[in-house]
C-alpha cells in the first residue's frame, strides 16, 4: 500500500504541497479532485521522482519501501506508473520499441528474463487490441502526431504492458470522446486487482461512473482538505469546490 505522511514539496522555491497525508490500501482505487493549480500533478510528479520537485518534508512509502530515496527508474521498477496529464513525444522511437525497451528494463530490474522479439510482439499486439488501439499506431514514434485522445489511450496501453503496483492516472479522461472514455475505463478496470492500487486524478464525476472509487479526496491548499465516499464526487459536481469546502468547514 501507499502511505503518504505530511508531505511538503516545492518547485523553484515555491511551496506547493504543504503537509499532505494520504493512505491508499492495496487493491483500492482513490480519486483525487481539486481546483486547477491545486497541486494534483505536482503530487504525481513528486511520487514519480521528477527532478526539480524538492521534497521539503514528510515521507512516502510503497509497501514499506521508502519511495523518496529511489531514482525515478527504480520507482518504476518498484511498480510506480504515472499516466501523464500531458504525454511526451519521443521522435524517432517507435511506440513498439519504446514499450519493448521499457518492459525489458523493468523486467531486468525485477530479476526477470527479457522477452524475445516474438514474445514481445505477441504481448504488445494483444494489449493494443484490448485497449482498442490500432496496431499501426505501434509503428509510429511515441505520441508524435497522436491526437489528444490517442495519447491518453497510449498511456493506458503502457500501463497494461508494464503491470505496475501503483497506478497514478493524471486526468487520463480529459480529451477522450465518450466511446474512448468507456474503452479506457474498461482497460483500467481490467487492471484492478487485489495487489494493485490506483490514484485517479480527475475533474469529472463522469469518469467515476465508470471507474468506481473506494474513496474520493479533495486536494486544495496543498493538502487533502476533505475525504469521503463516492458520493463526495457527486456533491462536488453539484456545488463546486468553493461551496463544498465551505460546507465542509461549516
Amino acid at each position: 500500500m501507499l502511505e503518504i505522511k505530511n508531505l511538503s514539496a516545492a518547485i523553484d522555491g515555491k511551496e506547493i504541497l504543504k503537509g499532505l497525508s494520504l493512505s491508499l490500501p492495496k487493491g483500492q482505487v482513490h480519486a483525487i479532485m481539486g481546483p486547477n493549480g491545486a497541486g494534483k500533478s505536482t503530487l504525481s510528479y513528486v511520487l514519480a521522482g521528477r527532478a526539480g520537485y524538492t521534497v521539503t518534508g514528510g515521507s512516502v512509502t510503497l509497501n514499506g519501501q521508502d519511495l523518496l530515496a529511489m531514482a525515478p527508474h527504480e520507482r518504476a521498477a518498484a511498480g510506480v506508473f504515472l499516466a501523464f496529464q500531458y504525454p511526451v513525444e519521443i521522435p524517432g522511437v517507435t511506440t513498439m520499441n519504446f514499450l519493448k525497451t521499457a518492459l525489458n528494463a523493468v523486467r531486468a530490474a525485477r530479476g526477470e528474463k527479457a522477452l524475445d522479439v516474438m514474445q514481445m510482439l505477441k504481448l504488445l499486439r494483444a494489449k493494443a487490441k484490448a485497449i482498442g488501439m490500432d496496431e499501426d499506431m505501434l509503428k509510429r514514434p511515441v505520441n508524435v502526431g497522436f491526437s489528444g485522445g490517442e495519447k491518453k489511450r497510449c498511456e493506458v496501453l503502457q500501463m497494461a504492458v508494464l503491470e505496475p503496483r501503483l497506478c497514478i492516472l493524471d486526468e487520463t479522461d480529459s480529451g477522450l470522446d465518450i466511446d474512448a472514455l468507456r474503452i479506457v475505463a474498461d482497460g483500467v478496470n481490467a487492471l484492478r486487482d487485489a495487489n494493485r492500487s490506483m490514484l485517479v486524478i480527475t475533474h469529472y464525476q463522469r469518469l467515476l461512473d465508470y471507474i468506481k472509487p473506494d474513496r474520493v479526496h479533495v486536494l486544495a491548499g496543498g493538502r487533502i482538505e476533505r475525504s469521503g465516499g463516492p458520493e463526495l464526487a457527486l456533491e462536488l459536481e453539484e456545488k463546486g469546490y468553493g461551496q463544498a469546502s465551505a460546507g465542509a468547514q461549516a
Binding site: 520537485y53 530515496a69 511526451v88 522511437v93
Partner: protein, 484 residues
C-alpha cells in the same frame, strides 16, 4: 530535506577495444623521407610505376601546408616522430585462414569480427565477407572463393596491385588525386594497405563486403587506401569498421577511399567509426583525417555514404560525391557523436555536374561534455547541371552546456534550373523526455541513449541490418558519462 536522488554516480564503461595484441612487429625505421617511401614500396614488392607515383606524391606533399580551415585544434604533428609501416612478423603470406597467426585470430574474435567462413548455402542472408587489416597489412580476407565465382574481386589492395594491375592503374588516384589535399598527398606517398573491390557488369554482390581496420602498433600512423569499382548495372554494399588500442599519445590515421560507379551501378558505403577517442580528459586518441570520395561516373549511377562516427579524438572527414553521369544520385547520411573533449569537423560535398542529378544530405550531430561538433557542407551546381536537385537537412543535438555545435553549409549554384533546399535545427535533450522514459523504467543513461537513437533514426535506418543493432549500442556507449 529530501531531493529525488540524482542518478547514481556513473562510471563510464572503458573503451572495450583498447587492448594491445602481443605480437612481434616489423616496422620501418622511424621518420618520413623518400627512403621511407621506397622502403614501403619495396616491402610490398610494388611495380615501378607505383613507386614513381608515390615519390611524386611525396614531393608534392612536402610543398603543401596543413589545412587550417577546420574547426579543430591540435598541436602540430611531428611527422618524423612516427612509424609509417608496421606488420606482424611472419614467415610467408598466409595462404588460407588456417595459416593466420592464432594471436591475430584471437584479436579479431575479441573484437567480434568473424574471420571464419560459415558454409554458405545458396540464398543464405546475413553472411558478411571480411578483409581484416592489421596495422599496415591485410591478414585475411574471407569468402574470396565464393565471390570469385561471380567474378567479384575482393582482396587487399597489395594483392590487387599484383594480380589486377590494369584495374588498379586505371582507377587508383582517379577520384582523389594526391593534389587534392595535404592528407591525400601524404596517403598517396605512404599508403600501406586497404581493400580492393571490383564488381563486374550486371552482378549484384550477394553479401555485405566489409573491411575491418585495426591499429595495434604504438606510435604508428595508419594510411590505408580503399578502392571500389562497380561496373555497369552492378550493386554492392560495403561496410568499414575500425578500432585501436588505448594509448596516451595521439595516433594519425589518414586514409583515402575512392568509389567509382559506372552506368546504372550502385554503391552503398557504410562506416562505423570507433577509433579510440581518448580519455575523458582528452588525453590520447586517434586523429582521423580522411578523404573519401565517390565518382558517379556513369549515367543513373548511385552512391551513398552512411557514417556513424563515435570514435577518434579528432575527426576531419567529408565523404563526397561527384555526380558526373546524367541522372546520377548521391547521398550522405551521417551521425557524428562527440563526448568529453572530442572534436569532429565532418560533412560532405555534393558536386553536381550531370543533368538531372540528385543529392540528399542528412546530418545528425550530437555533442556532449566539452566536445565540439561541426557540420561543413558544400553543394555545387555546375553550369551543366540542368534540373539538378539537392536536399539538405542538418540537425544538432546538445547535451549539457559545455559543448558546441556549428553548421557551415556552402551553396554554389551556376545553373538557374537547379534547386537546393537546406534545413537546419539545433535542440537540446529535454528534461520532460528524459523523465518520461525514466518513469517507464529506463535509467538516465538508457533514456539518453534511446532519445539520441530516435534523433538519429533517419540515418540509422540506412545502415545494413546486420550492423544497425551494433551501431545503436555504440551510440549508448559513446554517451556514457555525459549525463548525471
Amino acid at each position: 530535506m529530501q531531493q529525488p536522488p540524482s542518478p547514481a554516480a556513473f562510471t563510464p564503461e572503458p573503451y572495450k577495444y583498447g587492448f594491445v595484441t602481443p605480437i612481434d612487429t616489423e616496422t620501418a625505421p622511424k621518420g618520413l623521407s623518400e627512403a621511407t617511401v621506397r622502403y614501403i614500396s619495396a616491402k610490398k614488392g610494388e611495380p615501378d610505376w607505383l613507386l614513381a607515383q608515390r615519390l611524386k606524391a611525396f614531393a608534392l606533399w612536402q610543398t603543401m601546408e596543413t589545412p587550417s580551415w577546420g574547426k579543430v585544434a591540435f598541436p602540430p604533428i611531428d611527422y618524423q616522430d612516427a612509424y609509417y609501416y608496421a606488420a606482424p612478423k611472419k614467415k610467408a603470406a598466409p595462404q588460407s585462414l588456417e595459416d593466420v597467426d592464432p594471436e591475430l585470430l584471437k584479436t579479431y574474435e575479441k573484437l567480434g569480427i568473424p574471420l571464419k567462413e560459415q558454409a554458405i548455402l545458396a540464398g543464405v542472408e546475413g553472411a558478411v565477407a571480411v578483409d581484416a587489416v592489421f596495422d599496415s597489412v591485410s591478414v585475411a580476407t574471407t569468402y574470396k572463393k565464393a565471390l570469385e565465382e561471380k567474378g567479384i574481386l575482393f582482396c587487399s589492395l597489395t594483392e590487387a596491385i599484383h594480380n589486377h594491375p590494369d584495374l588498379v592503374k586505371k582507377y587508383l588516384g582517379s577520384v582523389v588525386p594526391p593534389s587534392d589535399n595535404y592528407y591525400a598527398a601524404l596517403n598517396a606517398a605512404v599508403f600501406t594497405e586497404g581493400s580492393f573491390v571490383y564488381i563486374p557488369k550486371g552482378v549484384r554482390c550477394p553479401m555485405e563486403l566489409s573491411t575491418y581496420f585495426r591499429i595495434n602498433a604504438a606510435n604508428t600512423g595508419q594510411f590505408e587506401r580503399t578502392l571500389i569499382v562497380a561496373d555497369d548495372d552492378s550493386y554492392v554494399s560495403y561496410l568499414e569498421g575500425c578500432t585501436a588500442p588505448k594509448r596516451d599519445e595521439n595516433q594519425l590515421h589518414a586514409a583515402v577511399v575512392e568509389l567509382v560507379a559506372l552506368d546504372r551501378a550502385e554503391i552503398k558505403y557504410a562506416t562505423v567509426q570507433n577509433w579510440y577517442p581518448g580519455d575523458e580528459n582528452g588525453v590520447g586518441g586517434i586523429y582521423n583525417f580522411v578523404t573519401k570520395r565517390g565518382l558517379c561516373k556513369g549515367a543513373s549511377s548511385k552512391i551513398s555514404w552512411t557514417q556513424v562516427e563515435t570514435g577518434s579524438a579528432i575527426t576531419w572527414k567529408y565523404p563526397s560525391c561527384v555526380l558526373q553521369g546524367d541522372y546520377s544520385s548521391g547521398a550522405f547520411y551521417s551521425v557524428a557523436i562527440t563526448n568529453h573533449h572530442q572534436q569532429a569537423d565532418t560533412g560532405t560535398k555534393m558536386i553536381h555536374i550531370g543533368r538531372g542529378t540528385r543529392s540528399t544530405i542528412i546530418s545528425k550531430g550530437i555533442s556532449a561534455g566539452h566536445a565540439q561538433n561541426t557540420y561543413r557542407g558544400l553543394v555545387r551546381m555546375a553550369r551543366t547541371a540542368h534540373g539538378a536537385r539537392n536536399k539538405t537537412q542538418c540537425d544538432s543535438l546538445l547535451i549539457g552546456d559545455q559543448c558546441g555545435a556549428h553548421t557551415f553549409p556552402v551553396i554554389v549554384s551556376r545553373d538557374p534550373t537547379a534547386r537546393v533546399e537546406h534545413e537546419a535545427t539545433t535542440s537540446r535533450v529535454s528534461e520532460d523526455r528524459l523523465f518520461y522514459c525514466q518513469q517507464r523504467g529506463l535509467s538516465l543513461e538508457e533514456a539518453m541513449a534511446l532519445i539520441v537513437n530516435g534523433f538519429c533514426r533517419e540515418v540509422m535506418k540506412e545502415l545494413p541490418m546486420e550492423f544497425a543493432v551494433e551501431a545503436q549500442k555504440l551510440i549508448g556507449i559513446s554517451l556514457e558519462g555525459s549525463v548525471g
